[in-house]
């Protein structure tokens, strides 16, 4: 009888271990802005593939729905009630660009992982909420990050100036804001990494702004339409807003 009880206890313990989703490891996610491989600084001019030059004044986006894949194939969801807000708008030096924006996630399982997945934007469980549902210290609690005409958070913003130096020197400002559930972009990154209790594991991502505009199979031509923040699929501006976030997500790579 005692042996039976002991075996039952061991089984329960092992079952619990296999199915636990939290531990004492720390995961640090770092996002670094680049432009064609160079550190991206706000308000600096960068040469574009087509001869124009571009400067970016505002560049921010949400990341949510973070999920890790364990080596045994099981998924672990992180930060289900929150989102990361990557805001490069105050990156003005190379040092700041190379440091990037980091976020620390606690209570990570001590384990080995093969993948990390996240969405660029705000997943529906959070997007159905409103800024007043969050403290003012949280980016989701910032009224400026919510667009009432969409009933949605602004998933991504990129604003700046294009110096159309190919023909005549003239500056064309641009603004692309993307939001609404249809524009949510999900990326999966294969990466083998381990987390250890009471230690920090860092994953570093590069976010290439040039890809937003010059992705070869999905060009975003600022000259055609320089402003879009529409959520109406029938609007001429819709493809531009959609492209901006599609290409933003595509421009994220893991180091």
């Amino acid at each position: 009888m005692k042996k039976l009880l002991f075996l039952a206890f061991c089984s329960l313990f092992l079952f619990a271990q296999c199915n636990r989703s939290k531990g004492d490891a720390i995961l640090k996610l770092t996002f670094k802005p680049t432009f064609n491989g160079s550190p991206l600084l706000m308000s600096q001019n960068y040469p574009c593939p087509d001869g124009d030059t571009m400067s970016i004044e505002t560049f921010n986006f949400f990341v949510s729905g973070i999920e890790l894949t364990r080596e045994n194939g099981k998924k672990v969801k992180l930060m289900e009630d929150d989102a990361l807000y990557i805001d490069f708008s105050n990156v003005f030096t190379s040092a700041e660009a190379q440091t990037g924006k980091s976020f620390t996630i606690l209570e990570i399982l001590d384990d080995g992982f093969s993948e990390i997945k996240f969405s660029v934007g705000v997943v529906s469980s959070l997007n159905s909420k409103q800024p007043a549902d969050f403290p003012s210290s949280n980016a989701l609690g910032d009224d400026g990050n919510y667009w009432t005409a969409w009933d949605s958070y602004i998933f991504s913003r990129v604003e700046g100036n294009l110096d159309t130096g190919r023909n005549t020197s003239s500056t064309l400002p641009f603004l692309y804001h993307a939001g609404v559930p249809d524009m949510l972009q999900t990326r999966t990154f294969s990466k083998t990494f381990a987390t250890i209790d009471n230690q920090t594991t860092e994953l570093v991502f590069e976010v290439d702004a040039a890809t937003m505009f010059y992705k070869s199979d999905n060009l975003l031509d600022i000259r055609t339409l320089n402003v879009s923040h529409t959520a109406a699929p029938t609007s001429p501006g819709y493809p531009f807003a959609l492209k901006s976030i599609q290409n933003l997500a595509a421009g994220i790579s893991i180091q």
Binding site: P135, S137, D143, Y146, A149, V227
Partner: protein, 393 residues
């Protein structure tokens, strides 16, 4: 027998030595300054937000209490806060003008001209962002309301007083010691401080909540609608008119954000909205936020204000340069004046430059629907010396 007498004597001496030193009534010196005989029974102030606004975030070190608010209201209207006792906070923040003063720039004691327009205090408690150091004043100089209210009292162009002198006046006042005791539970006069005065003022200001406008009724009360003009104006204001060719996007809501749960019509950020033409950051005549944080690219940036009650708070902008909402709109629809840090929302949009006179009129019609006049008769916001029989109670 001698030993017994010695022991008894020792016991008596010990008893005398160990007695409570306070024997009999206290001397005047010992009672002076004491407030602990005044009851301190704090009652939390329950603030129920109106529909369209959330529960206000209140700093943990300054919860709202009934007596704290009463004290703050008296301080707001009491001219004791000025050097010559001729002005109070209310001199530049009048209830009938949504707590502004109707002047381009405020006028301090002895007619001294200030440099900035008096900001409205309506809903000011909602503009505290916990994680940010630049929250209050046109230039974001102050992180908290408690810090902000201290400044005008000593500003040479405003009340031009000295807090040390004012605190001494409080301590010698026939009523304020009792009020400070009731508000904060202090035990002695020397605990009265400018910090406590600031806390009381901040508590009162946090009660100035308004969301009873025509717009609010259209959102929350069935069968209440905006006029056709105002509705068109609102649709253009919030933008993204679903691709409709009939309505333009006026791009207003980028900076004057609103949503159903917090309809403040303010992003609560700082930006350059194109008031001045400059080629270089150093050319601004008023550096605004940049003058506070010493970041050149923030020169010329000022707080994006809430548009609630905007029809009552003319003139407009940090220096009161625009007398009417029409003039404000004309600034935006011309794209604003060029500057290296001009808000992209203004420089990038071609649409706002094409607004017709009717469309501008529609937007202004909408802005008028944000006026809440229901608080004009709120005695609890008014000067207690004008509306209460016993204001010191």
């Amino acid at each position: 027998m001698n030993k017994v007498k010695i022991c008894i004597f020792a016991l008596i001496v010990g008893a005398i030595a160990c007695r409570d030193t306070e024997i009999g009534p206290l001397s005047p010196i010992e009672t002076a300054g004491r407030l602990d005989t005044i009851p301190f029974q704090p009652v939390a102030y329950q603030q129920t937000p109106p529909q369209g606004l959330p529960a206000m975030e209140i700093p943990l070190d300054n919860p709202l209490t009934v007596d704290g608010i009463k004290l703050g209201r008296k301080l707001f209207y009491d001219k004791i806060l000025s050097r010559d006792s001729t002005q109070s906070c209310a001199s530049c923040h009048k209830i009938e003008k949504a707590f502004t003063d109707g002047l381009p720039t405020s006028v301090g004691i002895r007619g001294m001209a200030g440099t900035r327009n008096a900001m409205s205090l309506i809903n000011v408690g909602y503009f505290w962002k916990q994680s940010r150091v630049n929250n209050f004043n046109w230039d974001g100089r102050f992180a908290t309301i408690e810090a902000q209210v201290l400044a005008p009292v000593e500003h040479p162009l405003e009340l031009d007083a000295d807090w040390e002198v004012i605190v001494e006046k409080f301590r010698n006042h026939p009523h304020y010691p009792r009020l400070f005791r009731k508000a904060f539970g202090i035990n002695n006069l020397n605990e009265i401080s400018k910090e406590l005065a600031a806390k009381a003022l901040a508590q009162f200001l946090r009660t100035l909540v308004s969301a009873g406008s025509e717009f609010d009724r259209s959102q929350w009360i069935p069968l209440n609608f905006l006029s056709d003009e105002a509705q068109r104006g609102y649709d253009m204001f919030i933008g993204d008119a679903n691709g409709s060719s009939l309505l333009k996007d006026a791009e207003c809501a980028h900076c004057h954000s609103t949503n159903r749960s917090r309809a403040l019509f303010a992003r609560n950020n700082f930006s350059n909205n194109g008031l001045d033409s400059v080629g270089d950051f150093s050319e601004f005549t008023d550096f605004g936020l940049g003058g506070v944080n010493n970041i050149a690219r923030d020169n010329g940036k000022f707080r994006e204000v809430s548009l609630r009650n905007i029809a009552l708070t003319a003139p407009y902008m940090h220096d009161g340069r625009f007398q009417t909402l029409e003039q404000v709109l004309d600034n935006y629809t011309t794209g604003g004046h060029p500057a290296p840090n001009l808000a992209i929302e203004m420089s990038a949009s071609a649409t706002i430059r094409t607004l017709t006179p009717q469309e501008k009129s529609d937007i202004i019609a909408f802005l008028h629907t944000l006026t809440d006049s229901s608080y004009f008769n709120k005695n609890e916001w008014k000067n207690p010396w004008e509306v209460e029989a016993n204001p010191w109670e």
